[in-house]
């Protein structure tokens, strides 16, 4: 049952977490190959106590590979995922390249694991903000049918990658020291600032990231009638995204009902006891596979409304863990 596994983008923030998750979940790896861009070739990465060389990705990289976990950006996926499939591998792709293609399953295992078996070589891993949102929303949707979602995100720099994490660290110190800063990864200062700008801007005024929350949510929950609007914002947090979510449901839900549904939901941890100042925070969500949900309230502004506050590790459940969970279904 052990598989020959390739990780594409192995040196990135998500790639390194993929190795960690494969190890922690004791994924049956027979052989492992690590691919990254030319500038990382020569490096080695540790997996189960052994050093593995980082190789350059080529057309011949996927010979004998069973499962290829891609996290090297949409362009790289578009170029090499079909090659991997032709070589006989199943690709779990963390990029946006194929997510909305009709014959590509877009999977969050807690929601629609049954779609995995329909794959034609590629299974798409959704956008991190979307995964973090749909894990707790899906069980509510099943009980009460969600009709509209207004979501504002508070996204960590880990979502941009390893260089962004470093930029936040360096820039923060420069500002504290009164030194000049030199933004490279982001268009403006991210330390002690907010950027309402994730992904490119589209003609309708939304960003790509915002439209992912609209479109991927509908595809994963298999309900195009769900109305979604989103404002996505980068915040000076290292890892774990948070989201303020306002829901309207077809059937009324009370707060105790929401808590009870979420307590039984896979992948969710209810952290909601304001009498003891217990609520989700990114520093608490970091390193956890579960999505933390709290601040559960009946919306004062509409019938059948619920407000939630969510934090989830963007690199784990938002990316690496979800991809490895999908791979586990392929075993």
């Amino acid at each position: 049952m052990a598989k020959n596994v390739a990780v594409v983008g192995a040196t990135g923030a998500v790639g390194t977490d993929m190795l960690r998750v494969l190890e922690e979940r004791q994924f049956p790896v027979r052989s492992l190959r690590l691919f990254a861009s030319a500038r990382s070739v020569g490096k080695t990465l540790r997996f189960r106590g052994q050093e593995y060389p980082v190789e350059e990705l080529t057309e011949n990289s996927f010979k004998g590979i069973d499962i290829a976990l891609f996290s090297a950006g949409a362009e790289r996926s578009r170029q090499f995922a079909p090659t991997a499939v032709k070589a006989g591998a199943v690709v779990v792709d963390n990029s946006s390249a194929f997510r909305l293609e009709r014959h590509v399953p877009l999977v969050v295992p807690e929601v629609n694991a049954h779609r995995i078996r329909e794959h034609q070589g590629i299974i798409a891993n959704p956008n991190c903000s979307t995964i973090i949102m749909v894990v707790p929303l899906w069980p509510l949707h099943q009980v009460a049918r969600i009709t509209r979602i207004v979501v504002s995100t508070y996204q960590a720099v880990s979502g941009t990658g390893a260089r962004a994490i470093e930029e936040l660290r360096i820039q923060t110190r420069q500002i504290l020291d009164g030194q000049p800063i030199h933004p490279e990864v982001y268009p403006y200062q991210i330390a002690f600032n907010l950027l309402p700008h994730i992904g490119n801007f589209l003609p309708n005024g939304y960003t790509q990231e915002e439209m992912k929350l609209v479109n991927e949510t509908r595809k994963i929950m298999e309900d195009d009638s769900i109305q979604v609007t989103a404002t996505t914002v980068r915040v000076p947090v290292f890892r774990a995204h948070s989201e303020a979510v306002n829901l309207r449901t077809h059937k009324k839900l009370t707060v105790p009902q929401v808590r009870e549904i979420l307590r039984r939901a896979p992948g969710v941890k209810v952290v909601d006891d304001v009498t003891c100042n217990r609520y989700p925070m990114p520093i608490e969500a970091s390193g956890q596979g579960d999505i933390l949900v709290g601040r559960i309230r009946e919306d004062a502004s509409q019938e059948n409304g619920i407000d939630l506050w969510i934090s989830g590790d963007q690199l784990l459940k938002g990316a690496a863990l979800n991809a490895v969970q999908i791979a586990e279904y392929l075993l």
Copy 2:
């Protein structure tokens, strides 16, 4: 026309900005007295090139005072504002103590300056998040009648006061240096973290800060039919609050209409050209009297919906500037 002015809470984050705003706007100050808690007595503060002593607040502090600007917390206001009124002063109170009292005008001059003359000694300055939101929403409400608001806030530590600003600074450096931290002002780490907790929690699950956005918005805009829900979140930003605002209006507004209305609105600056990465950010709003509005979009999730992203200096328009503007109407 010059007035005898007292500033209560003069050494706080808002108090020091009040002095700066009085100076910059050349408020006609005949005499100035500065009050603070006992531990600040002995300090001096500079105003128009002169040093003024900080005095302890007593029942006799307000003799001869015409205008008293209070920003020392609700308890202090409850105790001393009536004393000041009895002594003949008009109080502009920045605390929450009197805001929802029926006979106390709650004023944002761009919205309801006409209420100032109805005062019976006390005029309340609204909550900072509410001021920042209603300045741009009011002109839209006049044209299209806002029926529902979903707002998620991204609030700077300046809203908590001078000690919180210092806590963010010190704690951030401790974390970068790998040292242990000791939260004092906030219940948890604020550096590189988010706290969905501003003000105390209420029985309905909302915080006080969230209910201020609900109740004060209705009182200022004089329309109890406006439905509001809010999630308020503290972010590691030094000053200037930001807000993701989703609106439903009775009459449909297009994006060009919203831009045109806001361009002519007093106290608002439209910063909305995503083709050049221009959008409001707290570091840009800091130090400005205007509220910055951008990311103006037609809401993809409902008819007659608009999404906005707002940043405004919490200490200036959110507090000190608004209070001084009110005082100017008293001249």
